[in-house]
């Protein structure tokens, strides 16, 4: 052994070698920190959304004893009866001591305006009810609900909160009589939008998103796959195909609001399709997702080994048969993944829908692709912008539902890729 350091001494690593390992260690640590940092952001996001939103799945109900007095239903139509009057009457019977005009106003405000709709629906479903007295659980007002969920601080002075002292006393009395309780919020999953937080539901937006994505999927998948197959398998290699390729890649990076403007100009102003409907929304999102699907489709077609094409051509398959029998089935998992990712992107999009009027207050749950409807992200945006405090938790809950759908779709993409991937 001479004094020159060599790497051949297995027992004593040289300083050079040590340095190499140090760099490697540092690189690993940096990578780990980056991952930890992003994970903690995600965790924080999930935590804040969940802690804000989980209360939205519960809702406060108040039990009323409603007397459906026959004289109230003298009008020809059941709908014309004074249902809010019935609610008020029930409240007055429960608290006979309240006589002042202002006191009554505070008393009535404990019950959601939705209570009247509940009664109307009950009577319309079963007109025999008229003349009887029924115990009915109706929605409490959003302020009561916020108080029950601890989002209004009782310890503040009366002027500093939306619930008066006298209302607090009534609420406590109702609670002690077991006439006020929080239950699972079924309304949230079965109704459309509303300006009353206690009545607002996500179903309209979920169905709107469903119809919109249905249109998007049924248009963009076949068109995207056909375009990808043509460009990858059939198109001659020349300047035109290069130009098309560059343009498709560019389109994938175009801000989505541009597609909204395009949709407004073509589908609404030129074709005259109805505004605010899933049909137009689906068409606009089709324009937006097509580049993603085409790019993913071409990548997965490229990854099909050429030996398969040769084998098929070698036994005398035509070009079309080679593609449809062999290449396309092998590329399909990749294409599906690309499509689902494109769909997930479309599910979370609001900007292009703004231009075609899907950012709108729509109460009725849409029944088809030509009914006006909102979509999930739009619903989140609208609720986040509403002044009532009760919408804060609804917003978070809607985000949770949107995230659930996104996670489900992305897991499906991973599942499909794993399931149909062909090992060589």
């Amino acid at each position: 052994m001479n004094s020159i350091e060599t790497t051949s001494d297995l027992l004593k690593p040289t300083t050079r070698l040590k340095r190499r390992y140090r760099v490697e260690r540092w690189f690993k640590r940096l990578g780990l920190t980056a991952i930890a940092l992003s994970l903690s952001f995600v965790a924080f996001l999930f935590f804040t959304i969940f802690s804000d939103g989980y209360t939205a799945f519960k809702q406060s109900y108040i039990e009323l004893e409603v007397h459906f007095a026959a004289e109230e239903f003298s009008q020809e139509k059941l709908a014309n009866a004074d249902y809010p009057g019935l609610v008020k009457h029930a409240m007055r019977t429960m608290f006979p001591e309240v006589t002042s005009r202002e006191g009554k106003k505070f008393l009535y405000s404990l019950i959601s305006p939705a209570a009247a709709y509940t009664l109307q629906n009950m009577v319309e479903a079963d007109p025999k009810m008229i003349g009887t007295t029924q115990k009915v659980w109706v929605l409490a007002d959003d302020d009561v609900d916020m108080l029950m969920k601890g989002k209004i601080d009782r310890s503040l002075g009366e002027g500093n909160r939306r619930v008066r002292d006298i209302q607090l006393a009534w609420i406590d009395r109702l609670e002690s009589e077991n006439r006020l309780e929080t239950r699972f919020n079924k309304t949230f999953f079965t109704t459309g939008d509303s300006r009353e937080p206690e009545l607002a539901g996500i179903l309209g937006a979920v169905k709107g998103s469903f119809f919109t994505l249905l249109i998007t999927l049924s248009l963009s998948f076949p068109i995207g796959v056909a375009a990808a197959v043509y460009l990858e398998e059939f198109a001659p290699e020349n300047k035109w195909t290069d130009l098309i390729e560059i343009n498709i890649n560019n389109l994938a990076a175009v801000p989505s609001i541009i597609f909204g403007l395009l949709g407004l100009a073509i589908f609404i102003n030129f074709w005259g399709l109805p505004r605010s409907t899933p049909m137009v929304g689906g068409l606009v999102l089709t324009l937006m997702t097509l580049p993603t699907i085409i790019i993913a489709g071409r990548a997965s077609l490229k990854s099909v080994p050429p030996s398969i094409r040769e084998a098929a051509l070698g036994v005398g398959a035509s070009k079309m048969q080679t593609v449809t029998h062999h290449v396309l089935p092998l590329a399909m998992p990749g294409m599906l993944t690309g499509t689902i990712i494109g769909m997930a992107q479309a599910l979370g999009e609001t900007a292009p829908l703004l231009m075609i009027g899907m950012v709108a207050f729509i109460v009725d749950v849409p029944g088809g692709i030509t009914d006006p409807s909102a979509v999930l992200p739009v619903q989140i945006y609208l609720w986040a912008d509403s002044p009532e405090r009760g919408f804060t938790e609804k917003t978070a809950a809607a985000i949770m539902i949107l995230l659930t759908f996104l996670i489900a779709m992305n897991s499906l993409a991973v599942f499909l890729r794993k399931k149909f991937e062909i090992k060589w």
Binding site: V363, D364, P387
Partner: protein, 347 residues
């Protein structure tokens, strides 16, 4: 090839059948984001109780609403547009050019614009002059009142020695917002008029007057917080020295954490705005296309619901949502106009 022809056929069918699908059985409403919270409540109430379809309401801003509204007559165009200001002559002309000649104007109530801050600190007591001095881009030089200089004020105390020594930090809506238009017009312009030099420009230099009285400073003291008023509310809670500008309904809903600044001795509350005492308030409107009333089902019902006492009355549900009702005589006048569908005088 087969695949392609199917798509071509599909696209053609879609294009051909499009007009047939365009029949509409619900009311389409567009317009101001300030009126949106009120119109939506009426629409919901109407839909839930009448059995008709609930009207669809888009919040496009007053200007955007008129643009859509005035594009023409037919099912593809909205029936009603909400506005936080009266229709402009130019918009009326666009309407007339596109065949929208019969418009019913309905004033529905008032909205106050408030400057609010966190309850953890004291409420500001301001005049409109203070507001102008604090927020304008150019103000008269205190040393030489004849000359306009770039706004030098950093703290509220600089503006008015009676105010607190805190930094001027105002969160407000961007120029696209109707709230901003109204704020500039009602607060800033009136404040500007208290200075003879600016007042004088009204006659000599109209453009210059508009620029000076309406331009909000851009040196960071005024922060454009986007259209989302809830965001401003949240930021005010986090930052007690900041002041926010938004509609009264947001203050009403967040009265537990925020309080409004007192402007010229008037607190921004329900009574003050209804009486007209609170200076920064504005009327709200909606406009109905008369040609649509008998074509689209439900418009009459919606109008009746909106102009009923239980909606826009002093005890009505719109008041619960923060809209300031009109005096009784005004309500009667407009509900009569609506009942008879009295159209506006198109100049």
């Amino acid at each position: 090839m087969k695949v392609t022809s199917i798509f071509v056929a599909g696209a053609l069918t879609l294009a051909l059948t499009a007009p047939a699908m365009a029949a509409r059985d619900y009311i389409s409403i567009v317009g101001s984001s300030t009126v949106y919270p009120f119109a939506t409540v009426v629409a919901e109430q109407f839909g839930k109780t009448s059995g008709s379809k609930t009207p669809k309401i888009e919040s496009t801003g007053s200007g955007g609403g008129f643009k859509l509204f005035c594009s023409g007559v037919g099912v593809n165009f909205p029936d009603i547009t909400n506005s936080s200001r009266a229709i402009k002559a130019s918009e009326m002309k666009t309407c007339a050019d596109n065949g929208v000649t019969e418009i019913v104007e309905v004033k529905i109530g008032y909205d106050g614009i408030v400057l609010a801050n966190s309850k953890t600190v004291e409420a500001l007591k301001l005049t409109r002059q203070d507001i102008f001095l604090a927020l304008a881009k150019e103000v008269p030089d205190p040393a030489n009142p004849e000359k306009l200089i770039a706004n030098p004020y950093k703290t509220w105390k600089d503006v008015n020695s009676a105010l607190a020594d805190t930094k001027i930090e105002v969160l407000g809506p961007p120029p696209t917002s109707g709230t901003r238009d109204a704020f500039v017009e009602l607060a800033m312009e009136t404040g500007a008029d208290t200075f003879p030099v600016i007042e004088g420009m009204k006659k000599t230099d109209k453009e210059g007057y508009k620029r000076v009285s309406q331009t909000v400073r851009e040196d960071g003291a005024y922060i454009e917080a986007g259209e989302n008023d809830n965001l401003i509310v949240q930021k005010l809670q986090a930052n007690p020295t900041a002041v926010g500008i938004f509609g009264f309904s947001f203050l009403d809903q967040n009265a537990d954490v925020l309080h409004g600044s007192i402007i010229e001795g008037e607190e921004p509350n329900f009574e003050g705005i209804a009486k007209g005492a609170y200076p920064v308030s504005r009327p709200l409107f909606f406009y109905v296309k008369k040609a649509h009333v008998d074509v689209i089902p439900g418009i009459k019902g919606y109008l009746a619901e909106f102009t009923s006492e239980k909606a826009w009355g002093e005890e009505g549900y719109l008041a619960d949502k923060g809209m300031i009702p009109m005096p009784k005589e005004e309500r009667q006048l407009f509900s009569k106009n609506v009942a008879s569908l009295k159209v506006m005088d198109m100049k």
